[in-house]
């Protein structure tokens, strides 16, 4: 403890350099923690998905629809207990920049199969009873100030739905549990969209509830077999795989964001290491004097490494604090593409751990240089 004061005094020697080093570590930790939070957000859907739900889509791509006449055949597949379907709507709320996801769903079965969507019984009934009713996530409601009873008008985004605007009545503000459903979306009656659709009776994907998750592969294969060699061949997979493939549409996000985070951390490591080495070079005489006074090389190592560690941990705290402030739904809306992102405790701990690692690695070489300094040579350098 008695050396802590010495470390603090040394760190304050060049305030500007210490500040810049702390900030560079802070930025690295901030970026790392933020990117991890975004990655977690992308993966949350897959992580929180149900093992008893399988999703059927067109084998070619999710953007192509298929007839709702498939529903009966899927429902009759052995192992399937329940069925629902949904479609991407792509409407525009006032301005294309106000992006959020809207889904046309078969409401009764969808709410039955997705207990993660939490509504009060009154809200649920009001939604089911109103053909032009919709429900919005509490995150989305917070962003745009939607309240129960409000009217929302969406311009048509996909030409298949004609040119006339769609008016909706907000019948409920839903909350969520788990990561399978995000709270930044809007859900409404599939029939309402279908009435105006040029191509009637089409849907984007089916979700089937299966009785035994161990039989997911067999049930999926049986469903796809039913539509093999038809104009609407299907691809059925677990909800987790479906969510992952949805994320994969953006490219290899994990690799991209992971690479950026690693690159930032490595470059910060070099910056911090170089700064520490520069600081040691400037203090060559002082270190030699301390060695002359009897400071063992181990203590010198500890003092220099401790200084690097101190700056790095300080940077880590600033970085994590900044990430905690910035990475929250209020500041970073995700537009429904990914579930709400927030900084998890594990990301904060990892960020701080990273700052410790940067501090240890950056201080290693300068501290070793200082500990191995030949006293006489160092004193002669200035004498």
């Amino acid at each position: 403890m008695k050396f802590v004061g010495l470390i603090l005094k040394s760190a304050r020697r060049s305030k500007r350099r210490t500040f810049l080093t702390v900030i560079s570590v802070a930025m690295a930790v901030f970026l790392f923690a933020s990117l991890r939070a975004v990655l977690d957000g992308f993966n949350a859907g897959a992580e929180g998905s149900s093992s008893t739900r399988i999703v059927t889509q067109r084998s070619t791509s999710l953007i192509f629809t298929m007839p709702t006449s498939h529903a009966e055949q899927i429902r009759n597949t052995p192992g399937v207990q329940d069925l629902t379907w949904a479609n991407w709507f792509g409407g525009i709320y006032k301005d294309p920049r106000n992006f959020f996801a809207q889904f046309a769903i078969e409401p009764e079965s969808y709410l039955r199969m997705y207990p993660e969507i939490i509504l009060t019984p009154e809200e649920k009934k009001a939604f089911l009873d109103d053909r032009t009713g919709c429900i919005v996530g509490d995150g989305l409601a917070g962003t745009y100030g939607f309240k129960v009873g409000d009217k929302i008008t969406l311009k048509v985004g996909i030409p298949i739905y004609g040119q006339q605007d769609f008016d909706f009545n907000v019948r409920g503000i839903y909350h969520t549990k788990g990561g399978a459903v995000d709270n930044q979306s809007m859900w409404f009656h599939w029939k309402y969209a279908d009435e105006r659709s040029v191509a009637k009776g089409q849907t984007g994907w089916y979700v089937a509830q299966i009785s035994n998750p161990d039989h997911a592969a067999e049930v999926s294969a049986a469903i796809d077999q039913k539509f093999a060699n038809s104009p609407y061949e299907t691809k059925t997979e677990t909800e987790k795989a479906f969510q992952s493939s949805f994320v994969a549409m953006f490219g290899n996000i994990n690799l991209l964001l992971g690479s950026i985070a690693v690159a930032v951390v490595i470059s910060t490591l070099f910056v911090a290491g170089n700064t520490m080495a520069m600081s040691v070079r400037e203090r060559t005489t002082e270190i030699a004097v301390m060695r002359t006074l009897g400071f063992p090389s181990g203590t010198i190592f500890m003092l220099i490494a401790g200084e690097g560690l101190l700056m790095s941990i300080l940077g880590g705290l600033v970085g994590v604090g900044l990430a905690w402030l910035v990475v929250n739904p209020g500041v970073l809306p995700t537009g429904g593409f990914i579930p709400e992102i927030g900084l998890s405790t594990s990301n904060m701990i990892t960020g701080l751990g990273l700052s410790v690692l940067i501090g240890v690695l950056a201080g290693l070489i300068p501290a070793t240089m200082a500990a191995r300094l030949k006293i006489v040579d160092a004193l002669r350098r200035v004498a």
Partner: protein, 229 residues
């Protein structure tokens, strides 16, 4: 009673595979309580001899015994511990740590001891009192004159009550008045506190304060003078 015994000490440095001799079979004995002045032209080996006595350099050959310890055979770690207990070193350029106050500079060697904070404070205030700077505890080196800086450096050297005080041209960077004050202080430490001092100097006035003088030339001892016994 001899405190320092050097026997056939030789020191040479290697530069580009060439041996450069600095000290050649130097043997000296210094009694406890002596104030030894080391004189000689530049390159005569007097600073090297002082470094060997301080245990911050090692002889190529020969034996250096200080008190009961043969320091040339100590490991680096043991030597650091020995220096902390037995050596007080005064540099020509003071070498105070600029970010530490006078108090903290003097306290520095005590951080290596098991003394409590209060005990360290007592020792530091005593040392600063001896050098006459008890009222400058919170001053940083940049706020002190050269003479005051050197007196703080002397306080740092004596704060652990070392066996041996080594001074490498302690007045070399000072004006005549400050140099006189520093020399008077060293003489007082020798006479009043019975400290054994070895001082390297070019200055004949400084040398006059020593009780014994050794003259080195080209790494060998050429003359030994007793000025006071």
């Amino acid at each position: 009673m001899p405190l320092i015994e050097l026997r056939d000490v030789t020191k040479s440095y290697k530069r580009d595979a060439i041996d450069i001799p600095v000290l050649d079979r130097v043997s000296i004995t210094v009694d406890a309580g002596d104030f030894l002045g080391l004189m000689g032209p530049s390159g005569s080996g007097k600073s090297t001899l002082l470094n060997l006595l301080a245990g911050i350099d090692r002889p190529s050959r020969g034996s250096i015994k200080i008190g009961d310890t043969e320091i040339s055979s100590l490991s680096e770690r043991a030597l650091a511990g020995w220096r902390a207990r037995h050596i007080g070193f005064i540099f020509q350029l003071y070498n105070l740590i600029p970010v530490l106050t006078a108090f903290e500079n003097v306290e520095l060697p005590l951080l290596l001891t098991s003394l409590s904070k209060a005990q360290r404070r007592d020792h530091v205030m005593t040392a600063l009192g001896i050098v006459g700077l008890a009222d400058r505890v919170k001053h940083y080196p940049r706020q002190l004159s050269g003479g005051q800086e050197q007196r703080v450096a002397i306080a740092r050297a004596i704060v652990t009550d070392p066996t041996l005080l080594l001074a490498d041209e302690p007045t070399g960077d000072l004006d005549a008045k400050s140099a006189g004050e520093v020399l008077t202080l060293l003489q007082r430490l020798n006479e009043e506190f019975k400290k054994t001092i070895v001082m390297v100097t070019h200055d004949p006035h400084a040398a006059e304060r020593a009780s014994h003088l050794l003259h080195l030339e080209k790494g060998t001892l050429v003359e030994q003078t007793v000025q006071r016994s």
